[in-house]
Symmetry: C2
Subunit: 308 residues, 2 copies
């Protein structure tokens, strides 16, 4: 695949595995669309299907999976921990290869139009796809969930959708479609049960409070393990990478007399992020992707294929 | 490619680029054989062509490139820094994927037989392909070079070839064929011009003198830069990896009051070596190859391909 878009739809279903399987099938029925993984959360009654596809197929797969969600999920029967607006609740597009944020914004807008026209579900655009500045933040768009939106959408202009008439779909609600950059979810675990300490370190390292750019961080408890975590999103690993985040947290932890137990990546991590971390720690003066044997083999395969 | 063998023939030609290009063409004429790179050394009057292929094609390409070397290189006209026995001097096979050392030994023996039968060049087997324990070490097989072998081969039984009659090819000499594991050539540069110090650190870290297993190391001068290097071969990176070597050298350097300037990989490095180094430095508790986005995409492509 020369051009790859990732799509990470979130659904308001986390208890019925059959529904999730059907959603996966809807995606994979599209030529070129590939499901990389699913995450199902019964407590939150929510699931996530991660897929990749070339740009146009990503839109097709997004519309089909939203249709399947509307067929199988009745929001009136849904109650879970997580605030949600729709059967397919959030639909972010992520540029992976050969595409940029701008390209994905066009895809998001096209998907949004089709979701309204073909499924009768009103659509809101958020993050980089937002048409109004006050809609950039997902939490603001979703405030009060489906039940509050259903009351307000017909009367409050501030709640009118970006695409579609001002009424929710009776069972599928509304869908929030957006574009965000590839992010890495990365947690560092600390040898303490003191949540305030994790929060303090999170504040010290995150962009919002004067720490590293492109870094979001929160403190969390891992009750089952009796320890705490600095839970981070790296929103631009080319600038702020795993090793930057790790070193910043380690430094703060050391300053506060706490030991680092380890770290974990949640979900997927791009190869380049690991390579650059290795190159940094090893102080490799000559790192480049074509130092890597497998890359060199792939390039040779491609070169020979083009000659013939 | 499901099964991949790497082959790293060394040739006694390092000044005429046209010869090297012709050698590359001889390899790539074989369907499935891919040249990953070449290294040409005018001082040593020597070159290396690195290629990969499925097992049978690796043997075919090895024989063809040895034939091309015999056609183009006249050893009687060759004088260089490096001791050598043949136009194609050394021919190591390296298991990369889906093959083991034993498989490659069979390939090496088959290549050796064909080199004698088709080209009239006597062959010696070394390292894991050796038929005699005293021939495991390449330096012992090559002692005295072409000129000395030419004198001794007919009369000294200790110098009789493993395949072929006891006479050198008049212009192509003899070829030493073997099997070795994938190795990583890795250097750490030190902020000093003191060669004795680099040698001391090399002795401290290498297996031979009680250091890390699967690690060879020597001290070298980089005269042009006015510094020294600990130059290493990692002969089993799954056990002794880049970060082990780096940390061992760094520790010794610190003990001796010398700063580490940086490091470099010479040639190619397998992806897994970098990934594991990153996972080690980041203290990643959940590293596995399918955490990596590109691997997950490749697996999904494969899975979908098999379904259809």
């Amino acid at each position: 695949m020369e051009r790859i878009v990732e799509c990470v739809p979130n659904f308001s279903e986390g208890r019925d595995e059959k529904v999730v399987r059907s959603l996966v099938e809807a995606v994979e029925a599209v030529e070129g669309a590939l499901v990389l993984g699913t995450h199902v959360d019964a407590d939150h009654h929510r699931s996530v299907v991660t897929f990749v596809a070339p740009p146009e197929q990503a839109v097709e797969a997004a519309v089909r999976v939203t249709r399947r969600a509307a067929e199988l999920i009745d929001l009136r029967a849904h109650a879970g921990e997580h605030p949600r607006l729709g059967a397919c609740d959030v639909l972010p597009f992520v540029p992976l290869k050969g595409v940029g944020i701008g390209d994905c914004v066009q895809l998001a807008h096209e998907a949004g139009r089709r979701i309204w026209e073909e499924l009768g579900i009103p659509v809101y655009f958020y993050e980089s796809a937002a048409l109004r500045p006050e809609r950039r933040n997902l939490a603001d768009v979703r405030r009060g969930g489906f039940e509050l939106l259903r009351e307000q959408i017909g009367t409050d202009p501030a709640r009118a959708p970006d695409v579609g008439e001002p009424r929710v779909h009776p069972t599928a609600g509304a869908t929030v479609v957006g574009v965000r950059p590839l992010l890495i979810a990365y947690n560092v675990t600390l040898k303490t049960a003191d949540l305030a300490l994790a929060r303090r370190i999170a504040r010290a390292v995150r962009e919002r409070d004067g720490g590293l750019i492109h870094l979001k961080a929160l403190g969390f408890e891992l009750k089952t393990r009796g320890v705490v975590q600095v839970s981070m999103n790296l929103t631009s690993y080319e600038r702020t990478n795993l090793h930057h985040a790790f070193e910043a947290v380690s430094r703060e932890a050391e300053r506060l007399g706490v030991e680092v137990l380890g770290s974990e990546v949640v979900g997927l991590v791009p190869q380049a992020a690991l390579d650059r971390a290795a190159a940094r720690f090893l102080r490799l003066e000559n790192y480049s992707p074509d130092l890597v044997l497998e890359n060199r083999i792939a390039a040779a395969v491609e070169r020979k294929r083009k000659k013939s």
